[in-house]
C-alpha cells in the first residue's frame, strides 16, 4: 500500500466515524455546565479527584432527574493549570449548549484572566475556596463568586487555631509561610501580614518555585530559624515533597498547617505514618462523610458510571470539595429557576442571579445530603462569599480526623482588606461600583 492509499483509507474511516457520531445531536432541553479541569501536569494529583467530584455530583443530579426535570449536560476541557489553555477552554465552552451556566476555573491564574472577560460575556465565575480574595465584594465583582471561603478567611482561621493553642498570645512567636510561588501561593500574604502586626508574631515568607519538587533550601532555612508554626500553601506534587522534607529535617508535622488544596488523602496517603500529625484547614467541614456520598455510591458508582477509576476515592477531601462546588452551582441554577421558571434552561445571567440569592438552609442541606459537610450559606448583592466556616483536620497516619471546633474568619481583619483591594481593583480596571441598595 502506498502512502496515498493509507491516507485515503484513513480519511474514509474518519469520515465514516464522524458521520456516525453526528447522529445523536439536538437533544431535549439541557443545562450546560462546562468543566475546566487539569488531569495532567504538576497539579494533576489534586486536579483528578477534584474533577471527578465535580462530575460525579452532576451525574447524581441527572440520575435523580435533573434540576426540576432539566438534565445537566457537561463537557470537560483540560487546562493543565496553564492560563493560556484555560482561556482557550473558556472561549471554547462559554457558548456551548445554549450558553454555559458559569465556570469553575480551578486555578487562581485562570480566574484572574477570565475575571476580565466575565462581565463582557455575562458569565458567572464560581471560585469556591480560591481565586481573588477581594472578589467577595459583590459591588465591584458582579460576576465573581468566591463561595464558602477564600484564602484570607482560611489564613485567618488557621491563625485563630494557633492562637487557641498558644493560649491567646503570639507575641514573639515565629510563623513561616511556605508557599507555591504563584498568585495562588501569594494570596494569603496581605492577611497574614495584617495579623502579624496585630498579634505581634514574626512572619517569614518562604517561596518555593513551581512545580515545587525542589525544596531543600527552603527546609534548610526552616531548620535554621525554627519557626513555631509552618503554614503550607501548596498544591499538587509540592505537598508530599514538603511533608517529606519536614520529616527529613525533623520539623514536627503537628506544627504544620496546610491550606485545603494541600490537604487531601492523596497528599499524605503514600507517606502514611510519616505525615502523622499534619493538619489542614477544611472548607466548612469537607472532611466529613454524609448522605451524599452514599447516594453517589448507590446511584452512580454501583451502576458503573463513576468518574473516578477507584470508588475508594469517594470521600477523599478533594473529591468532596468537587462535589460541593457542583452542588453550589446546581443549587444556583435551581434558585434561578424558582424566579425565572421551573423546568426551564437558565441563561448565564439568570444563574448569576441564582448565585447571588443563594439561601441554603440547614433543612435544605440535610435534604441534599450535605447537612454535616456544610453549614447554612446565604449570599447577597454585596456579599458574594456567603458564609465562611472552617475546621482543622489532622492526619492520624491512616485517616483524617477533625480536631477543632468551627472557626469563622474575624470580620474586622478580612472585611477591610476585601474593601481595600476591591477598591484598588475597581480603580485600576475602571470598574463602576454598583449600588446594592434597591
Amino acid at each position: 500500500m502506498t502512502f496515498k492509499q493509507v491516507a485515503l483509507a484513513a480519511a474514509l474511516v474518519a469520515a465514516g466515524i464522524g458521520g456516525l457520531a453526528a447522529a445523536p445531536a439536538a437533544q431535549a432541553q439541557e443545562q450546560f455546565v462546562p468543566l475546566l479541569v487539569y488531569r495532567t501536569g504538576q497539579f494533576a494529583p489534586l486536579g483528578i479527584p477534584w474533577a471527578d467530584g465535580k462530575q460525579d455530583y452532576l451525574k447524581l443530579v441527572n440520575a435523580k432527574g435533573g434540576v426540576n426535570g432539566v438534565k445537566i449536560a457537561y463537557e470537560e476541557c483540560e487546562t493543565a493549570y496553564d492560563t493560556a489553555k484555560g482561556v482557550e477552554c473558556y472561549e471554547r465552552l462559554k457558548g456551548k449548549g445554549g450558553g454555559a451556566a458559569g465556570f469553575d476555573p480551578q486555578s487562581t491564574g485562570i480566574t484572574f484572566a477570565v475575571t476580565d472577560k466575565a462581565p463582557g460575556d455575562k458569565m458567572p465565575i464560581i471560585t469556591t475556596g480560591y481565586g481573588l480574595s477581594q472578589s467577595a465584594d459583590g459591588k465591584v465583582f458582579e460576576w465573581n463568586f468566591p463561595l464558602l471561603g477564600n484564602y484570607w478567611t482560611a489564613a485567618d482561621s488557621i491563625i485563630q487555631d494557633i492562637l487557641k493553642k498558644e493560649k491567646g498570645s503570639l507575641k514573639g512567636k515565629k510563623i513561616a509561610l511556605v508557599y507555591h510561588d504563584s498568585p495562588y501561593g501569594k494570596e494569603p500574604i496581605p492577611l497574614l501580614q495584617k495579623r502579624a502586626a496585630k498579634e505581634g508574631f514574626d512572619l517569614t515568607l518562604l517561596p518555593v518555585t513551581a512545580p515545587g519538587v525542589e525544596q531543600k533550601s527552603t527546609w534548610l532555612q526552616i531548620r535554621q530559624q525554627r519557626p513555631d508554626y509552618v503554614l503550607l500553601w501548596s498544591a499538587g506534587v509540592m505537598t508530599p515533597t514538603a511533608i517529606r522534607e519536614a520529616q527529613a529535617t525533623g520539623y514536627p508535622r503537628e506544627k504544620m498547617y496546610a491550606i485545603w488544596w494541600a490537604g487531601s488523602d492523596h497528599d499524605v496517603k503514600d507517606i502514611g505514618a510519616g505525615a502523622k500529625g499534619y493538619q489542614t484547614v477544611t472548607i466548612h467541614n469537607t472532611a466529613e462523610r454524609d448522605k451524599v456520598h452514599d447516594e453517589v455510591k448507590a446511584q452512580v458508582y454501583d451502576k458503573g458510571q463513576g468518574t473516578a477509576s477507584d470508588p475508594k476515592e469517594l470521600g477523599a477531601m478533594a473529591h468532596t470539595r468537587g462535589m460541593v462546588i457542583s452542588m453550589l452551582q446546581v443549587e444556583a441554577i435551581r434558585t434561578a429557576q424558582e424566579k425565572y421558571g421551573k423546568g426551564k434552561v437558565m441563561t448565564s445571567e439568570q444563574v448569576r442571579w441564582g448565585l447571588e440569592n443563594l439561601n441554603l438552609t440547614q433543612e435544605r442541606l440535610n435534604e441534599l445530603g450535605f447537612g454535616k459537610i456544610i453549614r447554612p450559606v446565604k449570599t447577597s448583592c454585596d456579599n458574594h462569599l456567603g458564609t465562611d466556616w472552617s475546621r482543622i483536620a489532622q492526619w492520624d497516619g491512616s485517616k483524617w480526623t477533625v480536631v477543632s471546633d468551627w472557626y469563622q474568619a474575624d470580620k474586622s481583619m478580612v472585611d477591610p482588606l476585601v474593601k481595600e483591594y476591591a477598591e484598588k481593583y475597581a480603580k485600576e480596571k475602571n470598574v463602576k461600583t454598583r449600588s446594592c441598595t434597591p
Partner: protein, 354 residues
C-alpha cells in the same frame, strides 16, 4: 502554468529589488492580507478570534522577532520568554503608573524596555557563541522569573503577583470586542513584519547574515561584530517585547509570571525551527503549527465522538504532536518555509516538469 514570471520585465532597480518580484506573489499576498483585514472579521466566530487567531498572530509576531536573532543573525537565544515578560510588565507599569497613558505608547514603551534588556543580555554574545550563548541567555529567563515574582514594584504591589491590564483604547477607538482585538494584533503584525522584512533585505540584514554564516570572515570584510550582534538583539527584543505586551494585554488580559516561563521560550524556539530559520514567512508557519495543531488535535476526539477520557485525549494530543514535529523535521530539516519554497519552485514548472 499560471505561476511563472515570463514576460514580467523589470525596467528599474526599484522594480527588481521589491519584496515580491513576481507579480503573482505580490497579488496573492495583497489579496491574502486584504482577506485577513476585510473578510475574516465578518466570517468567523468569536471563539476563532479569541482562541485561535489572536494567539496565532501574537505568537507569530514573537516568532518573527526571535527569527531575526536566531535565524538571521545566528545567535541562539533561550530568553525569549523573558523578553516577552519585559515587554508585558513594562507596558503594564507604564499604563498603571502614568494616568491616561495611550495604549500605543505603552506597547512601544514595552518594546523599548525589552530592547534595552535584550541588548544588555546580548552582551555575552560578543565573547561566546552557539550553545554557550544559549545557556547565557537562559540567565535572562531566570532573572525575569525571579524579578517578576519577587520584586513587588514590578507588579505594582499586587498582593498575588498577578497583574491585569486596563481597558484598551487607541485614540478613542475602544478595543473590547474580539474582532477589534484581532484587527489590532493583525495591524501590528503586518507593520512589524514589513519592517522586519525590509531590515533583513537591507545592509543591516546582510550584516546579520554574514555574522551568522561566519563571524570571523564577516569581521575581516569590515563588519563590526559588536554593532551587528547587538543590533540583532535590539531589533529582535523590540519585536518580542511588543508581542509580549500584546500577549498580556490583548490575549490574557491578566497574567502571572508563569505566562512567560521557560516553556514559552522553548516553544518559540521550536516554532522557528519547525517553521524555518531565517525566513519571515517561516515564523508564521511555525506559529500556525504550534497554535493551531494542538487545538485541532484536542478537538478531533470530540468531533469523532470517541469516548476518550480527558487525560487520555491530552496525552494523545502530546504524542501525536511530538510525532508530527519529528516527521516534519525528517521530511524537511529546513522547516515548513523550505517546503513552501520547494512547492513554489515546482509550481513554476507545473504542469510540464523536466
Amino acid at each position: 502554468m499560471f505561476y511563472r514570471e515570463t514576460g514580467q520585465f523589470k525596467t528599474s532597480y526599484a522594480a527588481d529589488q521589491q519584496i515580491f518580484p513576481v507579480a503573482q506573489d505580490r497579488y496573492a499576498v495583497l489579496a491574502f492580507v486584504a482577506v485577513a483585514f476585510f473578510v475574516v472579521p465578518f466570517a468567523v466566530s468569536d471563539y476563532t478570534f479569541q482562541a485561535v487567531l489572536i494567539p496565532f498572530l501574537i505568537m507569530a509576531l514573537a516568532a518573527l522577532g526571535l527569527n531575526i536573532l536566531v535565524g538571521y543573525c545566528g545567535q541562539i537565544s533561550l530568553g525569549t520568554g523573558a523578553f516577552m515578560a519585559v515587554g508585558a510588565y513594562a507596558a503594564y507599569n507604564l499604563q498603571a503608573r502614568i494616568e491616561g497613558m495611550p495604549l500605543i505608547l505603552a506597547l512601544i514603551g514595552g518594546g523599548l524596555m525589552a530592547m534595552v534588556f535584550g541588548v544588555v543580555f546580548g552582551l555575552p554574545s560578543l565573547r561566546i557563541r552557539g550553545l554557550y550563548l544559549a545557556v547565557a541567555t537562559l540567565a535572562a529567563q531566570f532573572f525575569m522569573d525571579w524579578l517578576t515574582s519577587r520584586a513587588a514594584w514590578v507588579t505594582n504591589n499586587s498582593s498575588s503577583g498577578s497583574v491585569s491590564a486596563g481597558p484598551l483604547s487607541i485614540l478613542g477607538w475602544k478595543i473590547d470586542t474580539p474582532v477589534e482585538k484581532y484587527l489590532l494584533c493583525l495591524g501590528i503584525l503586518c507593520l512589524l513584519a514589513l519592517a522586519a522584512k525590509n531590515l533583513v533585505r537591507g545592509a543591516i540584514g546582510r550584516e546579520w547574515m554574514a555574522m551568522r554564516d561566519m563571524d570571523v570572515a564577516a569581521a575581516v570584510i569590515g563588519i563590526r561584530p559588536t554593532y551587528a550582534k547587538l543590533s540583532a538583539f535590539a531589533v529582535s527584543s523590540f519585536i518580542v517585547g511588543v508581542a509580549g505586551a500584546l500577549w498580556g494585554f490583548v490575549h490574557l488580559g491578566a497574567w502571572e509570571p508563569a505566562a512567560f516561563s521557560l516553556d514559552r521560550s522553548l516553544q518559540l524556539l521550536f516554532m522557528i525551527i519547525i517553521g524555518g530559520l531565517g525566513s519571515i514567512v517561516g515564523s508564521l508557519f511555525g506559529a500556525a503549527f504550534f497554535v493551531l495543531l494542538p487545538l485541532l488535535l484536542n478537538q478531533v476526539p470530540h468531533w469523532l465522538g470517541l469516548p476518550l477520557s480527558t487525560a487520555t485525549a491530552t496525552y494523545l494530543e502530546h504524542m501525536i504532536f511530538g510525532a508530527l514535529i519529528v516527521f516534519f523535521l525528517i521530511v524537511e530539516p529546513h522547516g515548513l518555509a523550505k517546503l513552501w519554497a520547494t512547492a513554489r519552485q515546482k509550481l513554476r514548472l507545473w504542469p510540464f516538469p523536466h
